[in-house]
Structures are given as structure tokens and as C-alpha cells.
Symmetry: C2
């Protein structure tokens, strides 16, 4: 496994496919919810503000087709449908962790400003 460009100068097609798949609009957020455990449709919808039911349904179907999400129908009354990650899906936790680490460090300017202020204060004391 390497970051080198393969096939001459081109970006590795496997990497490209993966980054487009995981990065598809809303998919990253849906995966983060499912990484916490199995969920019903409405649980996911509530955890991702702004995501319409139509798009959530579309994304879940795509992830099912990719073998990342599994849909289980529990034969109760009323029927209960749950979504959970497959092994392939759970293995995306490394990607989610890397994105979280980067986001926490680089996209929280207020926190960063606070820590700069702390350092400045410390150097003056």
C-alpha cells in the first residue's frame, strides 16, 4: 500500500473510486451514524440534519449495493427494519477517524484561537 501514483502518472483508480464513494454527498455522515451501531431509518434521518428522506433512501441503497450496509427486516408487528454496517463498512472506521482527527485540528478555528491565546498568555506569565 502506497501513496504513489500508479499506472504511470495517474491517480490509483481504487483510491479514486473509494474517495468518491465515501465522499458522496451525505454518505460520510450516514456512515458515521452507522459506525455507532445498527439504526432504523428515522434514527439516521434525525442524526443528519438537512438530509431528506428521499436522499437518505437513495444513499442507503447505494451503500447496500456496494456491500457496505446491510438491511435487516425483523418480522414483528409493525415490521422493524434496521440498517447496519457489514465488515467492509465497519472497516471504514479508520477513514472516519482520520477525517475526524483532521477536522478537529483544522476546522475548529475558535478552539485553535483559544489555544493560541493560552500559549501567548503562558509566554507572558
Amino acid at each position: 500500500m502506497t501513496l504513489e501514483r500508479e499506472h504511470g502518472n495517474a491517480v490509483c483508480p481504487l483510491y479514486h473510486r473509494a474517495v468518491e464513494l465515501v465522499g458522496r454527498r451525505w454518505t460520510g455522515a450516514i456512515l458515521m451514524v452507522l459506525l455507532q451501531g445498527s439504526c432504523r431509518f428515522t434514527d439516521i434521518a434525525h442524526a443528519v440534519p438537512g438530509l431528506s428522506d428521499r436522499l437518505l433512501s437513495e444513499r442507503l441503497k447505494e451503500l447496500e449495493c456496494e456491500g457496505i450496509v446491510m438491511r435487516t427486516v425483523h418480522p414483528e408487528t409493525p415490521v422493524r427494519i434496521e440498517y447496519q454496517l457489514t465488515e467492509k463498512g465497519r472497516d471504514l472506521s479508520g477513514v472516519a477517524e482520520a477525517v475526524t482527527r483532521w477536522a478537529t485540528h483544522w476546522l475548529a478555528p475558535d478552539l485553535d484561537d483559544a489555544s493560541v491565546t493560552e500559549r501567548e498568555l503562558a509566554s507572558v506569565r
Copy 2:
């Protein structure tokens, strides 16, 4: 840093912003090219088959606005323009590595089939 959902049940908004930013169509591939070092526009275009000049230009501008990519104009004749990652951009190498690791493991069915065959052969021997 945690994978827990913050703000009650919702997906952490910093994570969500980061995953949508990096996952935007073509952006992951462009970042991978720039992680190899500074590039001219045409170098990136050649390394990402299918990416139009218009979209490459748009994505580079977005990444510049986000402080991820830096554009340097070398005052030569003809003028040479280079794109490179800032520290914030270079720090995305952890994300690119995690995606590459997952893609190599899960999106290469031919390789997986080969290793299954190897295991099957080993169990028969």
C-alpha cells in the same frame, strides 16, 4: 477526539464539513496528486483522467479558499504557475492513507480472489 455523535444525536458538524469537502467530486483525486509535491495545472489534469479543465480550475479555487492549496506565480517568461498543498493540506495525508488502505483491501476483488485461491490451495496441500 472521538467518533461519538456530538450535540445530542447529531453527527459532529466539523466531521461532516470535512468529509463533504474532501469527498467532493474529483477533490480526493486532486489532493492525491498534490500530496506527491507541487504541480502545474496540466500535471494535475493529466494525472486525473476524465477531469475537465473547467472543473479542475473550480476545485483548485475551492481548495485555495479553504486554505488547503497555495497557488504560486513564478515571474518567468512564460509565467509558470504552481499549485502546492499548505500545511493544512499536507495534513490530509492521513485521510488519503486511510482511504488507500481501505480501497486496497476491499475494492480489489481480483486480488482478493487470488488470495482466497491461495488459502484454498494451502488447505488442500
